[in-house]
């Protein structure tokens, strides 16, 4: 099928000026090799310089260009124009306040991410001179999948529980907590449990699984959360049955 042009319907919104969001339609040339981000860049460069959106790497690494395209949260740099019809509808990620046009406010997520201590808490702090924390390939394989998260927030846009309960810590942050909990060099699990095993933590998840479906890096946050639920349930009953061991 050969096409000359494609219509982009892009959601526009400036909370300081507009009473509500509206769609602007732009006619852009069709190019078989273009990802949707290329088409949006074409709009910015040639048709409307006021259009606001985030992007950086153009290679599905930075996680900046997440958008809802034809109703599905995707990375716009990772989604080819040719896979859509003559009209492509582009909206900002759902479940976040809009800062302007396709840019959303992610402060809430950044705070949640920090709350799960997404870094290695070592048993003994080493200086650089004392060398590395040694880890075997088998120990790495346990958590490697969960390190692939790029914080693009597609999972937060897809998750119905994030939409229903704004307090929910959410898929990416919980998957990263799991990643560090599984790391052989880390002893921070008990400290993370205060957030992870609370009601707004893993227990808000009802295993819809949309997070894993939209994840562009195959992190599978849904699996991470279910594995954390099992570990936390074991903790709960262990603490209950052996109260003298409780920390």
């Amino acid at each position: 099928m050969s096409r000359d042009t494609v219509q982009l319907e892009i959601l526009r919104y400036d909370p300081e000026k507009d009473s509500e969001p509206y769609f602007s339609t732009y006619e852009v040339p069709f190019n078989d090799d273009w990802v949707v981000l290329d088409a949006i860049n074409y709009v910015k460069e040639n048709l409307d310089r006021t259009l606001t959106y985030r992007w950086s790497c153009h290679m599905a690494v930075c996680g900046s260009c997440g958008m809802v395209i034809n109703g599905e949260p995707v990375l716009s740099c990772h989604t080819f124009m040719r896979d859509y019809g003559d009209k492509i509808r582009i909206e900002p990620l759902q479940n976040f306040p809009v800062e302007r046009d396709l840019v959303v406010v992610i402060d809430d997520f950044v705070e949640k991410l920090g709350s799960v201590k997404p870094y290695i808490v070592p048993k003994v702090e080493k200086t650089v001179d004392e060398g590395e924390y040694i880890q075997s390939p088998a120990q790495l394989a346990v958590f490697k999948q969960y390190t692939a998260c790029i914080n693009c927030l597609l999972c937060y846009s897809a998750c119905p529980q994030v939409g229903l309960n704004p307090g929910f810590v959410g898929p990416a942050a919980l998957a990263l907590a799991h990643r560090y909990n599984l790391d052989s060099r880390d002893v921070g699990r008990a400290a993370r449990e205060d957030v992870v095993a609370s009601n707004p933590g893993i227990w808000e998840c009802s295993f819809v699984g949309a997070c894993s479906e939209v994840c562009p890096k195959s992190v599978d946050p849904a699996a991470a959360i279910q594995q954390t639920k099992i570990a936390s349930t074991v903790d709960y009953f262990t603490d209950f049955l052996t109260p003298w061991r409780k920390q």
Partner: protein, 115 residues
């Protein structure tokens, strides 16, 4: 933040879900297809045999344990499903779901171990 008490109901939910996923297909086959396909005679499910199963202490346990877990699994699943459908009265839904499971549990204990 305080740690959640959800592990109690989620533990039953997870155990019941795993059990039902593994056991129910076999149960469906044994009860639904075994006789029809001629693997054994319909007498296997006669009242006397079923009665003997339910009267045996080990039989009682084999009837009670999976059924107990599976009804608590169903209770939690229905509560979460109600939430997914946008029913916000979680306290009421939880009371109804877990209440039904509790009634079922008590009824089973009565029928199997007391009556």
């Amino acid at each position: 933040m305080a740690r959640s008490n959800k592990p109690i109901v989620w533990g039953l939910f997870a155990a019941g879900g795993t059990l039902s996923a593994f056991i129910f297909p076999a149960v469906v086959f044994v009860i639904g297809f075994g006789v029809t396909l001629g693997f054994y005679s319909p007498d296997v499910f006669s009242y006397e045999r079923m009665q003997a199963l339910a009267a045996n202490p080990l039989g009682k346990l084999c009837l009670f344990a999976p059924t107990f877990l599976i009804i608590w699994h169903a209770a939690h699943r229905l509560r979460i499903t109600a939430h997914d459908f946008g029913i916000r009265a979680d306290g009421l839904v939880a009371a109804l779901c877990y209440g039904s499971a509790a009634v079922g549990t008590v009824a089973m204990i009565y029928a199997l171990f007391i009556a």
